[in-house]
Amino acid sequence: MVAEAKKNQEKIFEKHRKFCKVNEIVEKYKYEKQNLIAILQEVQTEYRYLPEEIMTYIATMMDISPAAVYGVATFYSQFSLDPKGKYEIKVCDGTACHVRGSMPVYNAIREKVGLQEGKFTTDDLQFTVETVRCLGACALAPVVVINGKVYSKMTADAVKIIVDELLKRSENDN
């Protein structure tokens, strides 16, 4: 099971690996240390997560220590050190969303995509489901963001329909 998941992961993410891109990004920021966060952000956009080897590579290019890069990457929750799913679902659990029932929405999504306890990404790397703090759209609470698209005033039932839609699309793609 684990081996299979790993193979899947490699297949999917092979497409995204453009190593030359890292060079471009670091060059664009002129190798400057104060730009590390911006560089990591762009690299993550490219790879969708920060692989260990790439962090070492960036550190070497910029003449800083890999430990320091790792420290920065683990400090900010925006950086992911594990591969993310094809669909990144963020459920806002800020105060406003929470009191208007974000947790039932979150649990409904998890159940729908079949996430096991303690996991945030499905084994087939299709879905990553996470909670985030206030997205600043409290008037629309509860808010769910899927790959950058905002879905407002969500309920457990409504979100199930949306996820169903994604599951269908996902099947057609493969």
Partner: protein, 692 residues
């Protein structure tokens, strides 16, 4: 520092209603301590940047409320109270919270009695922890790193004071440790939570020296050594490094810097070691070889500057980070390793002379133990270069702290034991060998010998004062036979890095550079009793070493009669074939981070696949491996071989001097510049797919 020309302005402030004068102290904590009032702290280290993390040094200041005194600049007229109800409560609460999250197996902890958390909990009268404990009895952190030879990292005992992170970054410039994660998940660890043996740690151990608890501690070999001592078949031989003798006494209440060689020798015999020697002797031997090397390089002008090679942390640093300078490193083994080689070859034969066969010692029964001020020596003795016929030349390394532990375990009354002499042969050492334990000592000893050998004249005053003192960088020029020999003496690896940079840019030119990784040299080694709190400790140890030189009738290594005899009988002359075999070594480029290969493109399965790996290590990157990847990708596309060629990026292939390196189907090709790539592509790849 900036206004040394002006006289310091004296100002006054009040601490606990006492008037206190201050001048340019960098923070309030220093002012309060100067007044003889104690302020507790975990994270403040005078020689490191101020971090303000532990909140133990809190004071109340009129008009400013509760402040951490380490981060407040002293101002005239301030009214400061150290012990108030508020500050006492804050400190006790802080300690209680730390203890709740701490692996509290204090009775069996290696840092017991030397732990700041333990002693402050006692001092502040913390008798109860009101919060649930993170670790139950016998429970430990899941990630104890015990796999490297020198340092144990135990996150369950970390209080996040950041002293290790700062010493590794600011003093050593190595930056192997970093704060990782955030808030209650924060931990200190190497990159990617790898073991210290998988990252570019030099094993200098300074992190263990500044760690206030047992979170970073020296890996102990005491039990292994006891086992050998208790084995009647084994002949256990021990060598004592120069710096150990001026520090061991600190643990037994002797005055700072007392030379305790005789006491250590007697104690080691009491413990059960069979023969006791002094590494100062093999330091003399090092000078003979390294001095000869220096003279040779001065003559030919090749591979200058000559870098000393006694310090294993420095050697590992260079192997991992600056392989382009490996040719400058002296090929001499360190004194510890020279002793090991000589002991297992020569000493054993001298022991066996005129002995009946049943009393003769077999090679497999001799055990060489070193007592060192150093944690990196533990890693050095296990290097594959120092294994002869499957046996380590030096079997075990104990630090000064472990020596103290063994003395205590054996119940030896160190202070009152009758001092004893070293064993023969090799019982004679010179002052030149002893000053090896201090920054500047190796250079001074080498210059004494090089000068006399080159000029043939005797030096009257042997002291080279410019080489002495605790400064991190010293420079001196000595005229030897009409040639100005320029020498630099450096301690700490951050300064070593800066010097390499200057040499690379051509801003500095030297003939010889002595480098020691620890502040102050070996006398400030991480294996010594802690010395970071007080500069005076290092100054006194240093004085102890130079006094030992003064009191020794011999000051030059080449005057040592035992060394002369060793060459006459066994080694012919310095730099002879046999001397090279026994006393010299070689170096190699080592990977900084042990990592995986990165796929750049991926050939389709089932096709005839050529595997291409391009090194993107530091050196190859600088020499244009990125250009090579780019050119190669284009060529593959042009020729429609996307499905046949698998390009992968790898990290250092350990051939930096010849980079950029490429491996095509396991064939290693060096010097692959973008200009050459076309020809290589044609010959090695395209030819395979040419339509026949």
């Amino acid at each position: 520092m900036s206004n040394t020309m002006e006289s310091k302005v004296e100002q006054k402030l009040q601490v606990d209603s006492r008037e206190i004068t201050f001048t340019d102290e960098k923070n309030l904590l220093e002012v309060i301590r100067k007044a003889g009032i104690e302020v507790p702290t975990f994270c403040y280290r005078p020689n490191l940047s101020t971090y303000g993390a532990c909140r133990m040094c809190v004071v109340e200041i009129d008009g400013m409320g509760v402040q951490t005194s380490c981060t407040v600049k002293p101002q005239a007229g301030m009214k400061v109270s150290v012990n108030t109800e508020k500050t006492r409560k804050i400190r006790k609460m802080t300690v209680e919270l730390l203890l709740a999250a701490h692996d509290r197996d204090c009775t069996i902890c290696a840092k017991s009695e030397n732990c700041d958390l333990q002693s402050l909990a006692k001092k502040l009268g913390v008798r109860d922890v009101r919060f649930p404990s993170k670790y139950g009895p016998g429970e430990h952190h899941v990630d104890i790193d015990n796999d490297n030879p020198s340092v144990v990292r135990d996150p369950g005992k970390c209080i996040l004071c950041g002293a290790c992170v700062r010493v590794c970054r600011e003093i050593q410039g190595t930056e192997c440790l970093s704060f990782v994660n955030r808030g209650s998940d924060a931990e200190v660890m190497p990159a990617y939570n790898k073991g210290l043996d998988e990252v570019d740690c030099t094993y200098c151990g300074q992190c263990t020296a500044v760690c206030p608890t047992g979170a970073l501690r020296i890996k102990s070999d005491v039990e292994k050594v006891w086992n050998r001592i208790m084995d009647p078949k084994k002949k256990v031989v021990v060598q004592i490094a120069p710096a150990v003798r001026v520090a061991a006494g600190e643990a037994f209440g002797l005055p700072l810097g007392t030379n305790t060689l005789g006491l250590i020798t007697a104690s080691l015999r009491k413990i059960g070691f069979d023969a006791v020697f002094d590494t100062s002797f093999s330091a003399d031997l090092t000078i003979m070889e390294e001095g000869t090397e220096l003279i040779e390089r001065l003559k030919t002008g090749e591979n200058l500057p000559l870098f000393t090679s006694c310090c294993p942390a420095w050697v590992r640093f260079l192997e991992q980070r600056h392989p382009e300078f490996l040719k400058n490193l002296s090929s001499c083994k360190s004194p510890q390793q020279m002793f090991g080689s000589v002991a297992k070859k020569v000493l054993i034969e001298e022991f066996n002379v005129n002995k009946p066969e049943e009393e003769q010692i077999k090679k497999e029964d001799i055990v060489i133990v070193s007592i060192m001020p150093c944690t990196a020596k533990k890693a050095e003795c296990g290097k594959e270069e120092f294994i002869t016929d499957g046996q380590q030349d030096v079997d075990f390394v104990l630090t000064t702290q472990e020596l103290i532990r063994m003395i205590n375990e054996a119940g030896v009354d160190f202070k009152h034991i009758e001092p004893e002499h070293l064993d023969s042969p090799f019982a004679i050492f010179t002052g030149a060998g002893v000053i090896f334990g201090s920054t500047g000592g190796v250079a001074e000893a080498a210059l004494r010998t090089a000068y006399e050998i080159i000029t043939g004249k005797k030096i009257e005053n042997v002291a080279i004062t410019e080489a002495r003192g605790l400064n991190t960088v010293k420079e001196l020029t000595i005229n030897i036979d009409g040639q100005d020999v320029k020498v630099a003496i450096v301690n700490t690896l951050s300064q070593a890095s800066a010097l390499l940079e200057r040499v690379k840019k051509g801003e500095a030119e030297y003939h010889m550079v002595e480098i020691m990784a620890c502040p102050g040299g070996c006398l400030g080694g991480a294996g010594q009793p802690p010395s970071y709190k007080d500069r005076e400790i290092k100054e006194k140890r240093m004085k102890g070493l130079y006094d030992s030189d003064v009191n020794n009738p011999l000051h030059k290594s080449h005057d040592n009669p035992e060394i002369i005899r060793l060459y006459d009988k066994w080694l012919e002359k310095p730099s002879s074939h046999i001397a090279h075999e026994l006393l010299h070594t070689h170096y190699k480029n080592r990977k900084r981070i042990l990592g995986e290969i990165i796929n750049l493109s991926s050939a389709a399965e089932g096709e005839k696949v050529t595997d291409v790996q391009v090194c993107v290590g530091n050196n190859c990157l600088a020499k244009g491996s990125y250009g090579a990847i780019d050119a190669l990708t284009k060529l593959i596309k042009e020729n429609g071989l996307e499905n046949n060629v698998n390009i992968r990026a790898t990290f250092c292939m350990e051939a930096c001097s010849k980079g950029p390196s490429v491996v095509i189907d396991e064939e290693h090709i060096d010097g692959v510049t973008p200009e050459k790539i076309k020809a290589i592509f044609k010959e090695k790849i395209l030819s395979k797919y040419a339509k026949s």
